[in-house]
Amino acid sequence: MSRVGESWGRYPGADQTVIALTDRHAELPAPTSSMLPYGNGRSYGDSCLNDGGALLHTRHMDRFIRFDAQSGVLECEAGVLFSEILDLVVPQGWFLPVTPGTKFVTVGGAIANDVHGKNHHKAGTFGCHVLEFELLRSDGSRRTCSLRQHPEWFAATIGGLGLTGVVTRATIQLRRVAGPWMSAEVYRFHNLPEFFRLSQESDRDYEYTVAWIDCASRGSALGRGIFTRANHAPSHPDSRPNAPSRRLRVPMTPPMSLINPLSLRAFNALYYHRQRESVSHVTMHYEPHFYPLDGIGDWNRIYGPRGFMQYQCVVPPGVSLDCMETLVKTIAASGEGSFLAVLKQFGDVASPGMLSFPRPGTTLALDFPNRGPATFALLDRLDDIVAAAGGAVYPAKDARMPAKYFKQYFPAWESFSHYIDPKFSSSFWRRVTE
């Protein structure tokens, strides 16, 4: 498990006091420094860090409050993990309305980052399914926020990076499922135009679509990848595989990153060729479908002591293809490569948060071992491409975007800043606004 006070990318480091919150009815502590809520530490960069200040660890506010198995409305404390929700509701025929690629995020963290998933084109962000939540501020005030009650606080807090106060409890609307199985189709594609075609023809009939692309290949193999589209399976599909029970774990941090240009090319080529047919149909349990990496505990350690950097951007529909090609070419030419490059078409469901990241267009998520200046230089080049295209970069995954670009990507930042709790701050926020 990650250490409290660390981010998932393990870069940058931060020195902070951790204060555990266990009682949602209690007032907030009053440290002399600034504070920031910290859930389960799955943000990659520094948006969950508060160097020199205090972290309010919300993970132990983990009680359910109410669950109506008829309507699928769940109320729980903000430290409850998505994994705990799934364990409770899947056997009763419900599923998370939206889930990111790990189930080890807290409800509070999912709200603060307005997370998205493979069904963005249908369901929008997680915030679209939050019916209400309670916001506790350092002045002791409590607001129940929803689209009707305190809508301005609702909009500021969803995607508000934990800066508006502590979310103590939330009510969410789950979605019906017949069982834990997914019915998926997996396609191999040879280039980016093929991805766009597949995605476009799938978005109407498939709730979940996502692609992996091989970022280590160049030339004619540039932009090749694997496209997956899936729906929740009917109650009794022909095959009903169990959730994988074996739990692997990376037991220690190796002295250097195991991800290097050689292992990257090998992995990417193997992954691309792992299925022999160009199309395959599979019925699988939801766990490997949604959370392939959750099966390997502490996988972030493979990047060694210097950690790694995620980079997730979105570019607008009109320029998607050109822009993605430029991005992939730039990465391939740099030789930095990315272990997991994920490509997805966002839909046009409006995100409810002032600072929400998802917006119509194509999103690309990458991770890079932190190899110092070369990695930073590459990410700066990617930023230039994204900014010129009118796109944006995801704060939850960022540890280095320049302030000028943050302000361009999120023009609402200034009006948002009025909602920040005067006692709250984060390493990220100071970096992109000061």
Binding site: H25, R63, F64, I65
Partner: protein, 245 residues
Amino acid sequence: MQKVVIIGATSAIAEATARLYAARGAQLFLLARNEARLQDIAADLRVRGSQDVSFASLDVNDTERHAGIIEQIWSSLGRVDVLLVAHGTLPNQAQCEASVEVALKEFATNATSTIALLTTMAPRFEAQRAGVMGVISSVAGDRGRQSNYLYGAAKAAVTAFTSGLRQRMAKVGVNVLTIKPGFVDTPMTRDFKKGALWAKPDAIAKGIVRAADRGRNVIYLPWFWLPIMLIIQHIPEFVFKRIKI
């Protein structure tokens, strides 16, 4: 359906254990001082699958109220399949050395109250001729150490008391389970530096439920505390006096 009573139900280990019983659909009766927290926990356990959760506020040191509360438990549940006595504090040893009053109060909370509760409940279990009486003692009770011997003495009392009670109750088919956790990462131990020997409340809770299911007598949680304590118990006094643990 199992009927489970938990005393000290707001403690981290107790709450984690209650969740496991709730997931099985058990009927629960919870006792602790703080009623507002009991209310939150009860709501959570209902969502997790408990058929029914009742709770009552009790200060374990208020021994005069024990008989009444215990009457209330049995009249509400009819019988008790699993009892878990989980209340306790972690006394500040320095304060216990400086004040007789503090020392005796801490001893009362961690030992006398448990003895009182078990004494009052034993006839009920004898009458129903079934059930598990689980009591959380501690590895600290295996040998007094300078860093926390007031706590150690109280837990030693609980360990010895439950050992005798186990012999008595075995005749009528009631199992007394002595639970000895090592270091557990809970609000009670918030200020300690955590190392490799520290366990999470969830892991301790699983061990408790498994031991209760299997009719175990004495368990160390996690298991590695058994050999550790075996060694600590056998260090000769002339050496023990000179080491710092």
